[in-house]
Amino acid sequence: MTEATGTVPESTREQAPRSLRGLLQALNLDTRLLGMVGALAVIWIGFQILSGLTGPKHDIFSGTFLTPVNLYNLAQQSVSVGIMATGMVLIIVSRNIDLSIGSILGLTGYTMAMVQVIWIPKSLGLGFDQPYTWIIALAIGIALGAAIGAFQGFLVAYGKVPSFIVTLGGLLVWRGLVFEEQQGQTISPLDKTFQLLGGSPTASLGDVASWILGILACAGIIYTLIATRRKRRKYGFPVRPTWANGVLMALGCLAILGFVWIMNSYAWPPGLATQYAHDHGITEPPGGLQIATGIAFPVIILIAVTLVMTYITTRRRFGRYVFAIGGNPDAAELGGINVRRTVMLTFVLIGILAAISGAVQSARLQAAVTSLGTQAELDVIAAAVIGGTSFSGGIGTIPGAVLGAVVMQSLRSGMLLLRVDSPIQDIVVGVVLVSAIAFDTYVRGRSAR
């Protein structure tokens, strides 16, 4: 995430910047990513103002979008699409597509629910809410996701069937299997421990652990920047000026600790706090018990997935291969890369990620329904593309895709907040998607000239 992707011109080394452009050059950040952060800021501020204007007070200061509770919900709502978008980047980068992930999400999510509601407690007669139930369910779901991914990946990579067709078939087949499994019944209630994966104030880290996590992440950024710099210097690569490194560390830490602060400033809703006080025999102080919520569990899952996927794509051979294949498949093949194996693995990866999303989604809903994950593939592809993944292959970043998921979800949640009906929401999201890509293509074309 923090790795420098290009080289810094000699002239800017160790000199104070003279202009904004000079500053950006010295920081050596991905300008596309910066552009997206800017776009996100515009969307957020826009919704904040609009929600204030349409709210009960009709002014621009009383908005509800930039409140801890909404940002807390937004973070949770972005998780499922964000997780899958990280895998979709690799799929699209290697010039494939996966239309089946919504159905894989549905099938794995539904199967995990069957494991914990029917198979373990009833078929095996072991009863509900066993301590091991959630992990067995999750393991079965992930294994199923990996197996489906491997099967589809095999057809694409070794069978040479276009991925569009294979996954279009998958979209229908896996969804059909969801119906077949239990004749379309809703499965609920899920295992109590498993439900924690879905997040809620009671399934969050709390303030102390959130701060510790934030400080650790901050230390991680500082360490990575210093280590990268040392390594690059060792091999004689150009490095950022010292002050630029310092600015990056400060910005990174500020962002992380700011996020933790917002999540912590969302206090448990009064209803939950009262219940908690009652259950633990605490007398509520006047004004109610104040419990900081902290980062929700699913958000931690998304952060972990993002880190792991970023590591795989930028620091492991596998990731380099994927980008090489996307850049030029023939050259990659001639260069000795096992293209077929690599492509198949990208599908295994996205199958696993879809299963994780399935767990988060069903745990969040506290039930498995047959419509679980319907049309998720569209949101995921849109997130990856808004996040800078190019359909012509070879270009894309994991953090960009996650940011893309947040952009998509911000639009949807914001419009819900403004009480925009679902058909209009779809129109807006569609228009935004196409205009974002058109604008991006235009800018890229100009800068290439």
């Binding site: 929600s51 709210g55 509800t64 409140t67 509770v69 909404n70 919900n73 709502q77 010039r95 597509i97 509900f128 276009p162 569009f164 067709i165 279009l168 119906f179 077949e180 004749q183 379309g184 019944q185 809703t186 499965i187 609920s188 209630p189 809620s200 104030p201 448990w268 809703p269 009064p270 209803g271 939950l272 706090a273 009262t274 219940q275 989604q361 969040r364 809903l365 506290q366 039930a367 329904v369 419509s371 679980l372 319907t374 359909f391 012509s392 292959g393 949807r412 949640s413 819900l416 907040l417 009480r419 009906d421 679902s422 058909p423 779809d426």
Partner: protein
């Protein structure tokens, strides 16, 4: 190069989709040509049929065209009820399954006629696409019963539960728990006429439309939204945003079905309001009935499929004797969304609350273990 390949694949997919969806739209010319002779033919046929009305019911073969027999409900509840009613009336049951294809269903209806069906019951896959087949059956002197789903043909008997009443019962039960305050309404799919039927029933019960006040002025609709595909996950997000927009000050939620109620209650649970805010639903989903026992859902409007099956069987037996659909017991005129005056029989749904959960138990719709899972002993009468 790759772009072009992708584009061509997309093209192929588009053609495939078009081919699939094309089958659900009837060719207008076929419909028109079939409609013209139908009036004369059916008049002749009904004369012939009434002449044979005195014939024994033994010759009464009733054909049922299922749209998708794979769904649990039809095999488990509807079919046995229809069969039982037919057997009681001395009629014979034949059936086929369209496997969710409107095209297959059109062939299936023809098939039933050639197998000698005297009455046809259709669970329509597509209420518009099936119209030419209905016209054809009527022309052959075979009366048609539109089962559960609307077919916009005035000559077909429309048999369903009263959906407007469902909405009314939902609103009434919620109002009984909370007569005033901030209300949120989670509606179903915008393209589904039922979503609006239900909403108009709520207005009858005293829950005003958005921006309007009820006579007593005590109810404010602070959030109302359609939900794509009746999807519970969407309903959950909608509820979260309504809670955020109103600083959690929500007093009651009217959800149009049980699946969405599940999403709503998950959102309420996250802010500690589940169990204090009344929530409605319909369909008799097993998890929803469990939620009623647990106290997180207030009402589940239950449409017992067996009553519908029995009504259809009884109506079919009567139609064998006399193909005039207006003479079937319990029918009344009904104005459809397409402004046709249909002959219909609307069954009354039943509101299930904590107090009458024994109804679903006695009907063996749900077993006690499923209904009472996680319920504190002694809190619900039906679970004791």
């Amino acid at each position: 190069m790759v772009n072009r390949r992708l584009a061509s694949l997309a093209g192929v997919a588009a053609i495939l989709f078009a081919a699939c969806s094309g089958s659900s739209t009837p060719a207008p010319s076929a419909a028109a040509s079939a409609a013209a002779p139908s009036a004369a033919a059916s008049a002749a046929a009904s004369a012939a049929a009434s002449a044979a009305a005195s014939a024994a019911a033994a010759g009464c073969v009733v054909g049922v065209s299922w749209n998708n027999y794979q769904e649990e409900r039809w095999a488990k509840w509807d079919e046995p009820a229809i069969k039982a009613a037919l057997t009681a009336g001395g009629a014979t049951y034949i059936s086929n399954d369209a496997k969710s294809s409107a095209e297959t269903q059109a062939n299936n209806v023809d098939n039933l006629i050639s197998q000698g069906a005297k009455v046809i019951i259709i669970l329509a896959q597509d209420g518009t696409a099936i119209k030419p087949s209905v016209t054809k059956a009527l022309a052959a002197g075979v009366p048609v019963i539109a089962y559960d789903r609307l077919i916009e043909d005035p000559k077909a008997l429309y048999l369903t539960f009263d959906n407007k009443l469902v909405g009314k019962l939902q609103a009434q039960a919620v109002l009984a728990a909370k007569a005033s305050g901030n209300f949120a309404i989670i509606k179903g799919n915008k393209a589904d006429a039922n979503a609006d039927f239900l909403r108009s029933g709520m207005v009858e019960a005293g829950v005003p439309d958005v921006g309007k006040t009820d006579p007593a002025g005590k109810i404010v609709i602070v959030g109302e939204t359609y939900t794509d595909n009746w999807d519970p996950a969407n309903a959950q997000k909608e509820m979260e945003q309504i809670l955020t927009a109103n600083n959690n000050k929500i007093d009651a939620v009217i959800s149009e079905n049980d699946g969405m109620a599940g999403g709503v209650i998950a959102a309420l649970k996250a802010v500690g309001l589940a169990g204090t805010v009344p929530v409605s639903g319909q369909d008799g989903d097993l998890p929803a009935l469990n939620r009623i026992a647990l106290g997180t859902q207030t009402v589940d409007v239950w449409k017992d499929a067996r009553l519908l099956g029995k009504a259809a069987g009884d109506a079919a037996v009567q139609l064998c004797a006399n193909p005039d659909i207006t003479k079937v017991a319990g029918t009344a005129p009904f104005t459809s969304p397409g402004n046709n005056t249909l002959t219909s029989q609307l069954l009354t749904p039943q509101a299930i609350t904590k107090d009458n959960l024994n109804v679903v138990l006695d009907a063996k719709w749900i077993d006690k273990a499923t209904l009472c899972q996680g319920v504190t002993a002694g809190s619900v009468a039906a679970c004791n």
